[in-house]
Assembly symmetry: C2
């Protein structure tokens, strides 16, 4: 009973492909393959430790738990439900055909105990697991999700500039950043998606990173167009792209603390006009931000030798960089924090205007959330990339007028390499998600794709998360910390035909700071699946609409009125 | 939009009786009547403020919210689901006939914000409501619940003494406390159930309260048999009852801090033998505990004049009382804390052995929880007491061998006055709850009762609560604070045919200290209801069994094995 193996390098997991199933139906084969896919070495960061992504975000608590889950799923009937508690299967109950096949709760703690030390203690005692968001709920699809979220954020920036009359609307077929120049910092694992996200929106992008190897790596993978070490040349190139309203990205090797100030000087002198400024250096950890006066070569030795002194220096440099950002805002640019806590570090570093520019969610994403828009994703259980091609095409036909979506799907098809089972992500809102789900179910029924399609989303979605430092930062009514919403979201998913449903604590921002829910469904081509998909993919983004109606957002009120989302207090 | 009325003395709510319904079916008439019943002046503490019980435990956030809920329930279809966020209706979604008709989340906060000040702020901003346990989830049935829980606790005490050979097993028809004497303190609103609970178990009881009016009030309602002001007489009477193995209770007017010590001296001197010692003075609030040397008349003025000094005196007296309790334990008595925090106050008052006796849940209730036993309750929607009489009789026929249950049902029928809609409570475990639910559904189908029956439970149940200071205190594996379980419980209820499901935070022990779930179903006599009841009333107590299996309790393992509860890790 007390066997608990968390590290086992001999294990190598890969989901089955094709139409032969080992479970009793596709409704249970789907969670089986998706759990296995989360642990595919192509997908997971440390599969031998069951870690999928995001620090220690795990798919199962131990290898024994993993084996019990897969064994149970293989034998689960279509009126049975498996319960998973922090990555360990704890029960099987007889339910009904409308009920989820798997119910998951990961990392949840009573409030007074909701902190890292208590969590670590219970984790060490083998009683809990950190589920992150899509790791413990079996719907992670690799880095495609990051690219697309960044793409959507930059698209929203462009649309906001246009709506405010700070940017003329472009031609029909132009992306929302056409004719703009974006300045950003940090071209690492996540930040490296920025130049491609900007150019996919037809913007010009200058990205500053101290580490030339990071910029070269992005250029080799076509995330970045070119690398420059001469600032005048770099500026000339992005200026030209901007003038030609052409997507083009240039990486410049330098320290953002210095370069941002220098570019501000040139911007104010009229040498160039920077429209958008942000940053994704890894500011959340001061030892990972290189202060001025230290070379890349000295970096890690210096940080290790005197971490406190290094922290003070890094914070002073961040204060300098953030000062330049605030002054860019004074000078008319659009400036935002991209979720790396650089504002708080700069404030600690002594700069008191640090919080004068907003975080990215309140600034751009919340209007999308008001429409129930969020990261909708799907996976071809067949393993055949052709199935995703078919869904891409069918989706473009379903939404012929949505140029932004077409552009994304074309770019993704061209540029995104699949990791694990072929998958696609795109942001769809209230109404459209249900249409897409029903379309996929028809494609399965008609044999246009070779096997069922799994449909899910990130927990970072419009009505599924309470996280006062990120997704629910600065809600209009001050309701940032209220966690009733993600819990209602999970109960709604369980009541609307989801195949698996999860409630997690601490994803993204850490233990004590968020509660969020996930849901996944399976388009297996049956009529029952169609009925479930219609309800689930209407109600789930519907939660986003009503959550923002309740917080007082006009756009959500409009969407509810236009699309018939019911608001009892107003009836 | 900004109308928010929380106090309205003009409102007087009483649920409809009879078989005419205003909602579209009994599945929605049921939550409508139960919400209204929670606010019946016979039931609620402060109905004009929407407060049902337990401090500020509310049924709805405002009168506007109440009106919107009732309006929506009246029109809700049998494939629609109403969402309630901290007492306010926020959405209606199309789901399916197996889904709950109402989903409720009350008072939930992200961990770092899960404290009273943050909650009070959001409450003042009209964004939240405190739901307690059954207040905000519309299944409070008055004080009957308290009496029965106390009765079960004392029954468990007696059985434990017998199992440990400290008490000879009684005759077949005798209660488990026959031949014992229990000493306790505090005969107030909740503590006043103690003497009747002891005598229902055929024990003798001596209860000490400083306030004679409290004792007289209990005596007038037959909760207490008689009041004595002379200690020798009081002792003689309970000694005689004990010798005759007869249930009898005597209230003695005195300060427990003094009297417990004096009784210990006499116990050690062989003048009487006290078998069980506990206390339900309101020790959780030191200003509500009267210290030695202060008279009842001076009490409130003294507490108000110098609360800090009063607190110190009260804690010193509690230390003295708890010292006597520990020494009773040393002298062989069974001693336990009855959920009023007197141990912690005594420790603060300088007594370092205070925690040497256990809380009541780990001591007596947990073995019941291991069997999925907990407070099962039902309500006659007809409003006709005859319907409850019919269910009582039918239940006795269904479980002919359960003498303990028969005794409770007979006593309840004889002694309990209904408050609001007629209701009954009794503790049933895994297997028996489903049988009882199906029985009730048959009684409705066959017209043996005049209208459908609502079936619910307290959130204090075997698998539905995480509360490290009470229900999950001192779990065998240290998993006290893990909140995955109540969340899985709510998801399971939503997946098993419950008519309404709720997730609450902070009930019982306060904000930051508990997360718990509730479920209610409706036996309307249909086949669909039968299928739902069978699943729900199997799976819900099943959560209690698997939660205790997972924590390593042998009894839960036995129950799972005997009754076929599936444990995936062991398959
Ligand atoms: N927007 C979001 O949704 C979101 C979500 C999670 C995390 N983040 C945050 O984004 C940040 C970046 O993440 P990542 O995965 O790309 O990190 P990473 O560590 O892979 O990359 C950071 C990059 O910053 C560069 N850098 C460090 N100091 C610099 C300086 N002074 N000037 C210029 N460049 C410098 C490094 O050379 C490196 O290339 C992190 O703080 C992360 O927490 C954002
Ligand atoms: N067991 C449970 O499940 C449970 C649940 C919730 C609360 N409680 C706790 O039980 C306690 C009692 O609740 P209640 O509703 O009966 O409270 P109450 O305030 O109605 O009654 C308390 C009684 O204690 C008496 N008292 C005070 N000081 C005394 C002293 N020194 N000696 C003798 N008597 C004294 C008072 O006169 C009063 O009659 C509270 O602390 C409550 O929090 C128990």
């Amino acid at each position: 009973m007390s066997t608990f193996t968390q590290h086992d390098p001999s294990r190598s997991i890969r989901a089955a492909r094709g139409t032969e199933i080992t479970a009793k139906s596709w409704q249970t084969e789907a969670p089986l393959r998706m759990l296995m896919n989360n642990l595919d070495p192509e997908v997971a960061e440390r599969p031998e430790d069951l870690v999928v992504y995001g620090g220690t975000g795990r798919a199962a608590r131990s290898w024994e738990a993993y084996d019990a889950i897969t064994r149970t799923l293989e034998n689960l009937e279509d009126n049975e439900t498996l319960l998973v508690q922090s990555g360990k299967p704890v029960g099987v109950f007889t339910t009904n055909k409308w009920a989820p096949r798997v119910l998951i709760a990961n990392s949840n703690l009573v409030g007074d105990w909701a902190n890292w030390p208590e969590f670590r203690k219970l984790e060490a005692e083998e009683l809990m697991m950190y589920g992150q968001m899509t790791a413990g709920s079996w719907i992670y699809i690799g880095t495609q999700g990051i690219l697309q979220g960044t793409y959507e954020t930059f698209a929203a920036v462009g649309r906001k500039l246009q709506a405010e009359g700070r940017l003329a609307a472009g031609a029909e077929n132009e992306g929302p950043l056409a004719g703009t120049l974006t300045l950003t910092g940090g071209c690492g694992g996540m930040g490296g998606a920025q130049p491609l996200a900007v150019t996919l929106n037809d913007g010009a992008c200058l990205i500053v990173d101290v580490d030339e190897t990071r910029l070269r790596r992005r250029a080799s993978k076509r995330y970045l167009d070119e690398v420059e070490t001469d600032l005048d040349t770099a500026i000339a190139k992005v200026n030209q792209a901007k003038a030609e309203r052409r997507g083009w990205s240039v990486g410049y090797v330098g320290n953002a603390a210095e370069v941002f100030g220098e570019l501000l000087r040139r911007h104010n002198a009229g040498e160039l006009t920077i429209d958008v400024v942000t940053d994704q250096t890894s500011a959340h950890d001061p030892l990972s931000y290189l202060p001025e006066g230290t070379s890349v070569e000295q970096w890690h030795a210096a940080a290790a030798a005197d971490p406190e002194d290094f922290t003070l220096k890094a914070q002073a440099s961040m204060a300098k960089q953030v000062r330049a950002m605030v002054e860019f805002q004074d000078a008319g640019a659009e400036v935002f924090d991209y979720g790396n806590s650089i504002r708080d570090e700069a404030r600690t570093g002594g700069y008191d205007r640090a919080f004068e520019f907003p975080g990215f969610v309140p600034a751009y994403i919340r209007p999308l959330f008001c429409e129930g828009l969020g990261p909708f994703r799907w996976v071809a259980l067949s393993g055949d990339p052709e199935d995703i091609r078919v869904t891409d095409e069918a989706l473009k036909e379903l939404f012929p007028e949505n140029a932004h979506l077409h552009k994304w799907l074309d770019a993704a098809a061209e540029r995104v390499e699949f990791e694990g089972l072929p998958a696609r992500i795109c942001w769809l809102g209230y109404g459209d998600r249900a249409k897409a789900g029903l379309l996929f179910n028809r494609l399965v029924a008609e044999g246009k794709v070779s096997a069922p399609i799994v449909i899910g989303r990130d927990h970072l979605d419009s009505g599924s998360v309470a996280s006062p430092y990120r997704e629910t930062e600065a809600m209009a009514d001050g309701s940032d910390a209220i966690a009733d919403w993600p819990l209602l979201n999970a109960l709604t998913a369980a009541s609307s035909g989801a195949t698996w449903v999860s409630i997690h604590h601490g994803g993204g921002v850490g233990i004590g700071r968020s509660i969020h829910a996930g849901q996944v469904s399976v388009a297996d081509g049956t009529e029952l699946a169609a009925a479930k998909l219609e309800a689930l993919l209407t109600n789930d983004p519907g939660m986003g609409v009503i959550r923002h109606v309740d917080a007082g957002y006009d756009r959500a009120h409009e969407v509810a009125a236009e699309r018939g989302v019911r608001i009892p207090m107003a009836e």
